[in-house]
């Protein structure tokens, strides 16, 4: 099962990147990067940015059956997920919760890479779950 989760900061640089299996990492990064344009496009449309936003790109490559989902928080932090299954809403919720826990840590400066082990665990859990 291929999956990749990336947390992208407001300024569109990655805060956290994790992917399985690892040989697709580079490809995932590329996908995620290109998907950022779509995110911006949709956010520019000004629709319901506050709530869960799903960005469904559908089949990006016909040869590979994964979808790229996006989710943007109210502070313009984006979670982009490359999955090949579709229970994304829940995953994004969990991600978001975990991310807020990271933010609660006063030693975490927004904009730093996320090095929280709790967050890692959450992501791992989701990867395992989905995969």
């Amino acid at each position: 099962m291929a999956m990749c989760i990336v947390v992208i900061a407001k300024e569109n640089y990655p805060l956290y990147i994790r992917s399985t299996p690892t040989e697709y990492t580079l490809k995932f990064y590329y996908m995620v990067h290109t998907s950022l344009d779509v995110v911006d496009e949709i956010s520019a449309m000004g629709k319901a940015l506050v709530y869960q936003r799903e960005l469904y790109l559908g089949l990006f490559y016909p040869t590979e059956d994964y979808k790229v989902y996006g989710y943007m928080t109210s502070s313009k932090v984006k979670f982009v997920m490359v999955v090949d299954s579709s229970n994304t809403a829940l995953i994004f919720q969990k991600l978001h919760n975990s991310y807020t826990d990271v933010m609660c840590n006063p030693f975490y400066n927004p904009g730093d890479r996320i090095q929280s082990r709790a967050f890692d665990n959450t992501v791992t859990l989701m990867m395992i779950q989905v995969c």
Binding site: C104, N105, P106, F107, A118
Partner: protein, 647 residues
């Protein structure tokens, strides 16, 4: 767990141990290993050979103690730990332990810490307990109990005490993380506890006199425990264990002045008190919580790296709300202290640091606080001399010192403390008037200053400061207010305090007794004097008026300066001021209200002082004028004398 010599080492070479080494290492290992292996019961060298298959792991705590007892620098110890594979494996298995011991021996022999070093024949590693493990000079308590032991006793006791608690709790080793220290079985606790109490009483006395007591106590106990433990082999082991602990603790003391931070992530009473104290310094209400930013500033003073602090926060803030309640704070603080003492952070929050556990175990922060308040000064003096290294370590150490007395009293209760929490706590606190606690609080305050940054200390000091400023300005400005008027009237004089002119008018109304009198009266006096024509009538009236109507003073003053601008310049201001003081007196007597009389008395005094100062000021200003004139004259001369070479 791989017992094969080479396997455990990871990258290390096959571990070849001589017999002596085998014996030594296995004993040490058995000592360090916890209840999993059955403790020193299996200590005897033969059994402790740690046959394969035994999933014994040495708890990191005693191992760390042992390593520190080897008197190697911590850097070396870290290297050794890494090399032996314990870091990788996350625990000290027999192989890792043996490799580590060999590396210690190598380091002590001066060889570099490398895996190659252990290939050669090495002497046995030496540990600072005035007896080397290698030689196994067990039967000599006298050697062991040197002066070196004295200090460690205090800490030792704590550690051993904590260990006892762990045993009682029967904490099993948690897999890769540092397991709570599993110490030898029950018999050591007895003697440890007793010596613990001795140690604590020693702490309390903070003298050396007590040292012999634990010293002696230890000896017979040590001997008695031998038989009780059921084996000659175990006796030395245990004694060594306690001594090792003591020495390692001593090292800790010397290095970090933290003694309770032993393995078990368990907060002792004194630690708890200290943490609560610190909590209260940050947040007076123990049932409330500390915000993230406040906690961040506080913990940043511990000089740990931000990622580590971030991780500690993550561990301790169980509800992830960005704020720390008291138990969370204690857990975080404990982790920080542990980290400062070199203990690697656990993967997860140890059960003993869970908020629920902490709340159950130490549910009484409130009356600790009350005790703190009541016992303020007593121990602080005692604690002063016990200044140890730095930061929270020192304060923690002190804190540890303080509670020593309490624990001394409740030595045996300590056992119950952990389990029952409340009652022991109450005993502790009630029995030993928390001189300790308050010392802690007091000590903690100055200690935290050593955080080398603006701490809560300074905030508190600052908090105390505001009340004082008002008097201070009085010395200068309030009286100078009248002088300022003088200066105002003397345009030639650089009016340094001219800025005060605006303030004085505002002052009299409010701080009437303090500032207003000198200010207003000072003004009034010259005013009255300078306007003799008006003074005759107005002075009494004004005298009465000021007393009766403070707010009107500024108004009057404003009038006066206009009228008396020239007159004020005279140095006679002082004289007139003094003369003016006479006038108010009769008028004062006319006042019937006692308040006015009191106020006038104060006014009088202030006037007198003001007059003196005014006189002084006028004299100085006259001098200043003269000097100015001289200067001008000199400059003129210079101009004349200087050859005209402009440009």
């Amino acid at each position: 767990m791989e017992a094969s010599a080479g396997g455990g080492c990871g990258a290390g070479p096959p571990l070849l141990l001589s017999d002596g080494e085998q014996q030594c290492y296995s004993e040490l290992f058995a000592r360090c290993a916890g209840t999993v292996s059955g403790g020193p019961g299996s200590g005897p060298p033969e059994a402790a050979r740690v046959a394969p298959g035994t999933t014994t792991t040495a708890a990191a705590g005693p191992v760390a103690d042992l390593f520190r007892a080897s008197q190697l620098p911590s850097e070396t110890l870290h290297q050794i730990t890494e090399l032996c594979g314990a870091k990788r494996a996350g625990y000290f298995g027999p192989t890792q332990f043996y490799v580590a011991l060999k590396l210690i021996a190598a380091a002590q022999s001066g060889l570099p810490v490398r895996t190659e070093s252990i290939k050669c024949e090495l002497p046995l590693p030496r540990f600072v307990m005035s007896k080397s493990d290698g030689e196994r000079r067990i039967g000599n308590p006298a050697e062991l109990l040197g002066t070196k032991v004295q200090i460690p006793y205090l800490t030792t006791e704590k550690n051993s005490f904590k260990r006892m608690d762990d045993e009682d709790k029967q904490q099993e080793t948690q897999s890769p993380t540092m397991s709570p220290l599993a110490s030898p079985p029950s018999s050591p606790p007895h003697y440890q506890r007793v010596s613990l109490s001795h140690g604590y009483s020693k702490l309390r006395s903070s003298t050396e006199q007590m040292h012999p007591a634990p010293y002696e106590a230890r000896q017979p106990l040590g001997q008695s425990e031998g038989p009780s433990s059921g084996g000659p082999g175990s006796k030395p082991l245990r004694r060594q264990a306690s001594l090792i602990r003591s020495f390692s603790v001593e090292r800790e003391l010397q290095d970090n002045s933290s003694n309770y931070l032993d393995e078990p992530w368990r907060i002792t009473e004194e630690q708890r008190e200290y943490y609560v104290n610190q909590f209260r310094s940050l947040q007076p209400d123990p049932s409330s919580f500390i915000s993230g930013s406040v906690a961040k500033n506080f913990f940043t003073k511990s000089k740990l790296s931000i990622p580590e602090l971030s991780y500690i926060w993550e561990l301790s803030d169980a509800d992830c709300d960005g704020a720390l309640t008291l138990p969370e704070f204690c857990a975080a603080f404990h982790l920080i202290v542990a980290r400062k003492n070199g203990y690697p952070l656990p993967e997860g929050l140890p059960p003993t640091l869970q908020p629920e556990y902490l709340q159950a175990a130490f549910p009484k922060p409130k009356w600790e606080c009350a005790l703190f308040d009541s016992y303020s000064e007593s121990m602080s003096a005692n604690q002063q001399p016990r200044d140890l290294n730095r930061m929270e370590k020192t304060s923690v150490k002190d804190m540890a010192d303080f509670p020593a007395p309490t624990q001394d009293v409740t030595g045996d209760d300590k056992q119950a403390l952990k389990s029952t929490g409340n009652e022991a706590l109450s005993k502790d606190v009630s029995e030993d008037p928390a001189t300790a606690k308050d010392c802690t609080s007091l000590k903690a305050r100055p200690r935290s200053r050593s955080y080398s940054s603006t701490s809560i200390e300074e905030a508190m000091k600052r908090g105390e400061d505001p009340p004082t400023p008002p008097p201070r300005p009085q010395k200068t400005h309030s009286r100078a207010a009248s002088l300022d008027l003088n200066k105002v009237f003397q345009p030639s004089v650089p009016a340094v305090n001219s800025g005060l002119l605006p303030p004085p008018p505002a002052l009299p109304p409010r701080p009437y007794p303090s500032q207003s009198e000198p200010v207003s009266e000072g003004d009034l006096h010259p005013q009255l004097n300078r306007a003799p024509s008006q003074a005759a009538e107005s002075s009494p009236a004004k005298k009465d008026a000021p007393h009766a109507q403070p707010p009107s003073k500024p108004i009057r003053r404003k009038f006066r300066p206009e009228n008396q601008s020239t007159e004020n310049q005279e140095p006679s201001t002082g004289g007139t001021a003094s003369a003016a003081t006479v006038k108010p007196h009769p008028t004062v007597h006319k006042q019937s209200s006692k308040q006015k009389k009191a106020i006038q008395t104060a006014i009088r005094k202030n006037k007198e002082a003001n007059a003196v100062l005014a006189r002084l000021n006028s004299e100085l200003q006259q001098q200043l004028k003269e000097v100015h004139q001289e200067r001008i004259a000199l400059e003129n001369q210079l101009e004349q004398l200087r050859p005209v070479t402009v440009l």
